[in-house]
Structure formats: structure tokens, C-alpha cells
């Protein structure tokens, strides 16, 4: 271990296996079953047994509401697999959804655990059923019952702004205003995702989409149309974070963690962040590049959150793949971010087309690509350096990953 590895503790951790359950728009299956499918898949992929697992980390932890948001918590999986845990954590006040994986990285780096099972399961598709988004929206069934808004929603719900779609839309509009970004540029995030989803057998939407399809889709909250919003689904995703010195126990050469970014310097409310044309991701991105000698130009693969298309634009800028405000021209035409382009982006189809696995899908895909297991959607040239970033608004966590350096 080098001196800088001692300084940057995340380098004592590796990603050793990934797993994913069946994914579907509405599976109507027990979300705990989806969770254990993903978990057992990840454990086997790492070449481990459930008895080797001594840590669990998950986002957002067990919770009943909003419906479908959390398929399982720490104790559900601990009980289902009867794990003896040296360390565990579940919660949502983290640097984005992948903050749970970063927690696991910190735990193994600190010597609290050897192999931490990280998972995230959603069943928002089934929970929503045929009743639409309102069924899972905070306050969505509140016409009767005297529900009152509290917490951060107190400042949003009374103005009929229950969805991140409208909060993000305001940021996007501000970006359009400040930098001249256009809908045709933003569209490239959705079109690129769909192109990649056509060769992902697990993706929710696999039919080709054109610019005309995009521009004629119904508007949700300007400038975001239907295709700028991710698709709720059911599915579980898991990965194993292992201590680097366990490599001899593992089935395949692990993915190394070069650096993480967790910083958040602004005010935490969605509408109070100091710069309304970006988000917490810019703080996480800045921090990540301070923890490595690699540069943005070294990155060959970018898997970056697209709960709404505009969030990916923010991440492109935050991770310094382009300058501040320059994400529109950067994605223009779509060639640069295509699988064959200089920065292949969201190669599984993102949450926009592959389903809202909520952050963990990006890290799963980054590992898959770095291991060269992408099948029909494998990025040409077998990338060795990639990023996985998740979270929008006040949520942001980023990982810089390498293989075989």
C-alpha cells in the first residue's frame, strides 16, 4: 500500500461482485424475494458464500412510505440470510443512494468488516399499480384525512409541488436561461439511454425513440417532458464491497475504488441551494478529483444518475467532463456520449429506459462494463476507468473505479 493509499482510505476497498434480480415495470412479487435474488447473485459473483458476509449496507433502510420506495431494510436481509454482522447501516441521510456503498467502503477500510453486502430494492411499479404516480406521491391520497405537510415538504406541497420532477424542472429552466441550453440538447440524454436500452434485455423500454418522439411527448413540467422522467419499476440490485486484502478469496479480479466524492457545501433544501443551475453533485465531483491523480480525461465510462435527464447534465459538469454550463453543447448530437463515443454514458439505458433502480443500477452497470461482461452492450475497447454517480438535488455521491491498473 502506497502512502496515498493510506491517506485515501477508500483504496483499501474493492468491489468484488454484483447481482440483480428480475427487473420489470410491475412484477407483483415480494420485494424481499427480489432483494435476496440480487444479494445471492452478488455473493456468488464474488465467489463467496453467505456465511462470508459480515456487513450490510443499504439505502434508504426499511420504510413503509412512500409505497414501493424501500423493498427491504438491513434487518430483513440479516434475518432472511441469517447473517452474523460485524457492521451494518441503513438510512437515507447519505451522500445520495450510493452513499450506502461508500459507507460500506469506509467500514471495510476501517477494518470493521471484510465483505459487506450492499443492496437497494424498489417496487414502485407494483406499488403504483394502475393508479398512476399519485398513488405513491407524498400526500397523493390526502384529500380526506386532514394530512398536513411537515419537514422539507412543508415548503413544497402547499404549492402543489409534490414531485422532484417540478423541483428539477425549475433548475433545468434556470440552466436553459443562464447557458442557452436547449430541449434538443437535453433530449440526447433520453435518446442515448434509449439507444443503449435496445440492447439491454432487462431494460423496461426497448423500442427505438427519435428526436420527433421526444419533442412531441407530453410536457410534465417545463422544460421536462415525459421522456425526461425515469420509469418506476420493480427490482433489486446488490454488490459486495470487500477489503482489498481478501482478494485471494474472490472469484475474479475485483474493481478497485480509486476515489469517492461525498461533499455537500450548500443548504440542504432543494430550493435553497446557492446555485440553481447545478446541484450538490458539483461539490461531490470537486472533492472526488481532489482525491486522485487521475483526471476527467482519463475516464472511459460514465454511469450517471438520470432520475430526470437534467440531473445527468449536472453530473457531466460536476465531474468536469465539460465546463460549467457546457453540458448542452457537450451532448449535442449524441455522438460523444454514445457507446462508441469518447465518453460512453448510461450504457444500460439509465433509469430513463432501463428502470428506476434508484442509483444502484449505475454502479452495477459500471462494474459490469469494467469486467467486460456487458454482452451486446459492452463498450468497445474494454474500458478500465469509469465513474458511477448517483443522486439529484441535495443528494450526491460519486465513485471513480478502475480495473487492472
Amino acid at each position: 500500500m502506497t502512502e496515498s493509499d493510506e491517506l485515501f482510505g477508500e483504496r483499501r476497498a474493492v468491489l468484488s461482485g454484483i447481482g440483480q434480480s428480475d427487473i420489470g415495470r410491475r412484477l407483483y412479487r415480494d420485494p424481499l424475494e427480489l432483494t435476496v435474488d440480487a444479494c445471492l447473485g452478488a455473493i456468488a459473483d464474488a465467489g463467496l458464500n453467505p456465511t462470508d458476509i459480515d456487513g450490510i449496507s443499504t439505502y434508504p433502510g426499511g420504510m413503509e412510505n412512500p409505497a414501493g420506495f424501500s423493498g427491504a431494510g438491513v434487518t430483513d436481509v440479516q434475518e432472511a440470510l441469517r447473517l452474523n454482522l460485524s457492521w451494518y447501516a441503513g438510512g437515507l441521510e447519505l451522500p445520495g443512494q450510493l452513499g450506502a456503498v461508500i459507507n460500506a467502503i469506509l467500514a471495510v477500510s476501517a477494518g470493521l468488516a471484510r465483505h459487506v453486502l450492499c443492496f437497494r430494492t424498489v417496487f414502485e411499479g407494483s406499488a403504483q399499480g394502475t393508479k398512476g404516480r399519485a398513488a405513491v406521491m407524498p400526500g397523493g391520497d390526502s384529500r380526506s384525512g386532514g394530512f398536513r405537510a411537515t419537514g422539507f415538504m412543508e415548503w413544497l406541497l402547499p404549492f402543489s409541488a409534490p414531485s422532484a420532477a417540478v423541483w428539477i424542472a425549475m433548475f433545468a429552466n434556470r440552466h436553459f436561461h443562464e447557458y442557452g441550453t436547449t430541449r434538443e440538447q437535453l433530449a440526447q440524454i433520453a435518446l442515448n439511454a434509449r439507444r443503449n436500452a435496445t440492447v439491454n434485455p432487462k431494460a423496461i423500454y426497448r423500442d427505438p425513440m427519435t428526436m420527433d418522439d421526444y419533442l412531441s411527448a407530453r410536457m410534465i413540467s417545463s422544460p421536462l417532458c415525459l421522456f425526461d422522467c425515469d420509469v418506476p419499476c420493480d427490482g433489486g440490485t446488490a454488490m459486495i464491497v470487500s477489503r482489498r486484502d481478501t482478494v485471494a478469496d474472490l472469484r475474479k479480479p475485483p474493481i478497485e475504488v480509486e476515489a469517492v466524492g461525498t461533499a455537500f457545501h450548500g443548504r440542504p433544501a432543494w430550493d435553497q441551494y446557492y446555485d440553481l443551475a447545478t446541484m450538490a453533485c458539483q461539490d461531490a465531483g470537486t472533492q472526488l478529483w481532489e482525491r486522485t491523480d487521475l483526471r476527467p480525461s482519463d475516464v472511459q465510462l460514465a454511469e450517471m444518475y438520470d432520475g430526470f435527464s437534467f440531473i445527468t447534465m449536472c453530473w457531466l459538469e460536476a465531474m468536469q467532463f465539460c465546463g460549467k454550463g457546457e453540458s448542452g453543447p457537450f451532448v449535442e448530437g449524441g455522438q460523444r456520449i454514445a457507446r462508441e463515443g469518447e465518453l460512453p454514458l448510461n450504457t444500460h439505458g439509465g433509469q430513463l429506459s432501463a428502470g428506476r433502480l434508484h442509483g444502484f443500477g449505475f454502479l452495477h452497470e459500471a462494474c459490469l462494463q469494467l469486467w467486460g461482461e456487458g454482452g451486446e452492450r459492452q463498450v468497445p475497447g474494454d474500458p478500465e476507468i469509469g465513474v458511477a454517480c448517483a443522486g439529484g438535488g441535495p443528494l450526491a455521491g460519486a465513485l471513480l473505479l478502475t480495473r487492472g491498473r
Binding site: R133, A134, M137, G139, G140, S142, R143, F147, R148, A149, T150, E154, W155, L156, L157, P158, F159, S160, A161, P162, S163, A165, V166, A169, M170, F171, A172, N173, R174, H177, R218, M219, I220, S221, S222, P223, L224, A269, D271, Q272, Y274, L276
Partner: protein
């Protein structure tokens, strides 16, 4: 300032507490009110228990002019829940008294397509009298 007339749409109302009552009930007196630090003069919103600039706990409440500037907005077309008829405008506005004083609101009494970033607006209250909540909305300033 005047209050709106006509039908009041359904809204999910805030739970009123000692900390937030000044904001949600100021409209009863046609006043947009914020907490303000008595030591350094900093306006606090959302309401807090300590001034984040000088760490004083000597916090009062003051009315502001109700004039504000639109920082960001979106025309919302999706009927998420019962409420104002779509399309309606969501906006983040900045009351003129302090650079980093902001709130999310709706822009009303204006065609949605006429809303612009940088536009001057003023507060107008939507009364939910039985519930003792007055929702601060904003309309174009004359």
C-alpha cells in the same frame, strides 16, 4: 396587498407550529413575514432556532415588502394531486430584502407563458380561513 377572491383550490396545507405560524398566518394581516436575527439583521427562512450567520438565538419576526424576483420557474402540466388547475407555474422567488432569501411558490394572475426569470413579482395571499392558513403566492408587480 390584497387577498385573492373567488374559489380557493384544494391544497395540502402545512402543519402549523410555533416556529412557522408567522409565515403561514401573516396573510391574515396581508403581511409576508420572516424570522429575522435581532443581532445581525439576517432573515431566516425556512424558520430556524439560531441565526446561521452570527449564532445568536435572539430571533424575531418581521414583515417584508412582499416584492420579489423570479429566480427559476416551471410551467407544470401534470395533475399530480387535487389542486390548482393545470397548467400552473411553480417558481423559486427571492424577496428583495436579502440576496439569499428564497421560497418556492406559485406565480398567479398571469399567463404561464408570460413568466420570465428576473421578473418582478409581489405577494398575494390565498386564504384558507377555516384552516387558519394563508398561502403566499406571487403575481406580476405593476
Amino acid at each position: 396587498m390584497t387577498t385573492t377572491t373567488g374559489d380557493v383550490p384544494f391544497r395540502i396545507l402545512p402543519r402549523i407550529t410555533d416556529r412557522n405560524a408567522h409565515f403561514w398566518q401573516g396573510g391574515r394581516d396581508d403581511e409576508l413575514r420572516f424570522q429575522r436575527c435581532r443581532q445581525c439583521g439576517y432573515y431566516l427562512h425556512p424558520p430556524a432556532v439560531i441565526c446561521p450567520k452570527c449564532w445568536s438565538k435572539d430571533i424575531g419576526v418581521e414583515a417584508v415588502s412582499g416584492r420579489a424576483e423570479v429566480l427559476a420557474f416551471s410551467i407544470n402540466y401534470q395533475p399530480w394531486m387535487p389542486g390548482p388547475e393545470v397548467p400552473f407555474v411553480l417558481a423559486i422567488v427571492h424577496p428583495v430584502e436579502q440576496d439569499d432569501l428564497r421560497l418556492t411558490t406559485n406565480i398567479v394572475n398571469c399567463a404561464p407563458d408570460d413568466v420570465r426569470i428576473g421578473m418582478a413579482v409581489q405577494v398575494i395571499f390565498e386564504p384558507h380561513v377555516e384552516d387558519e392558513v394563508w398561502i403566499p403566492l406571487f403575481e406580476p408587480a405593476p
